[in-house]
Amino acid sequence: MTTMTIAKAITAGLRRVLEQNPKSLLIGEDIGKLGGVYRVTEGLQAGFGEDRVVDSPLAESGIIGTSIGLALRGYTPIAEIQFDGFVFPAFNQITTQLAKMRSRSEGRFGAPVVIRIPYGGGIGSIEHHSESPEALFAHTAGLRIMVPSNAHDAYWMIQEAAASQDPVIFFEPKRRYWLKGEVDTENPAPPAAAAQVVRPGRDATIVTYGPLVPVALAAAEAAQEDGRSVEVVDLRSVSPIDFDTVVESVEKTGRLVVTHEAPTFGGIGGEIAARVSERAFLSMEAPAIRVGGFHMPYPVSKVEDQYLPDIDKLLDALDRSFAY
């Protein structure tokens, strides 16, 4: 058991991948000498050399496209996209190539590329540095999408991602990079595809992942004071989604609130609300309520607090749910 920040847990996980899988390599912008703009790859080039930790030219499509080629020859490339807002130049390679390789090759080649993306808002940054594009990748069949919310998961899930035979988009909740937590380097976390009930409750279920898990927990805590027992589910994997765990929870509680930072409209919360409402239909005391960003470009930092889901918005959603 060691206490680590989420950022350093990922660093440690990557170090372990590089140690254990000689075919693994990191590639991205500024990940070498600089150690990445968030220092997540700090020390790794010094430790493993320039062939294993590769500073690439400044071109995201190039990073992902060449990673596919590396994977075809047995390598496990772990690519870094510097910020969420800069993954889009690589969107063509990700959706038309990476995601479809397994299908196109009749299962012979799964394109095991990992794409690490620091994502989400709340860091007071300028445009394009606070995006939550996970729904775009979730809707693209052929990708796994993992989002850790704590240091222990981060340490283990990045290793799971690197071991996956399918491509993985690994979203790192950047505003939680400095969140500390206990990491048990001996006992693996459950597989990413298994959602976790991180707080049990009886009266309502909040489903979320990544940066909003602490917010959901805090809201549940606050709701407790009103005598409401709220269960919180951390999805951990946004594609596939562990609907069984969510449905089981909602069949018990009868109420569902889903929250993510991405705009509600067309977000993955719609998938969760729709699927769970279908499967748990007769148990629903109230409609599934979604709390997400507004349907607008991510706002300037001065007002991002009003844009982001927070405890008050979750409590309000719970109120609306309990009003039925």
């Binding site: 299962g107 069949a141 596939p240 609907f243 069984d244 089981e248 629903m284 005391e285 039925y324």
Partner: protein
């Protein structure tokens, strides 16, 4: 066989099936009912948990509400 499923990767790996379905829900004393029935019950001031459900899995139906009222 020759063609392995395209997206089995993404779709097939969901966690172990753990949901026990409505049966579990009734054990947990969660009343099963569709929203319009809940609405009627509320309007009539009926506590749904007092109503015996005769639908599939113990679902409370409109008819159940009527017979409950008739009691």
């Amino acid at each position: 066989a020759a063609h392995s499923p395209a997206a089995s990767g993404a779709a097939g790996a969901a966690a172990v099936v753990r949901s026990a379905g409505p049966a579990m829900a009734s054990i947990l004393n969660r009343v099963l009912a569709k929203p319009p029935v809940r609405k009627i019950a509320k309007e009539l001031g009926i506590d749904l948990s007092k109503v015996r459900g005769t639908g599939g899995g113990g679902e409370v139906t409109r008819e159940d509400l009527i017979s409950y009222q008739a009691q």
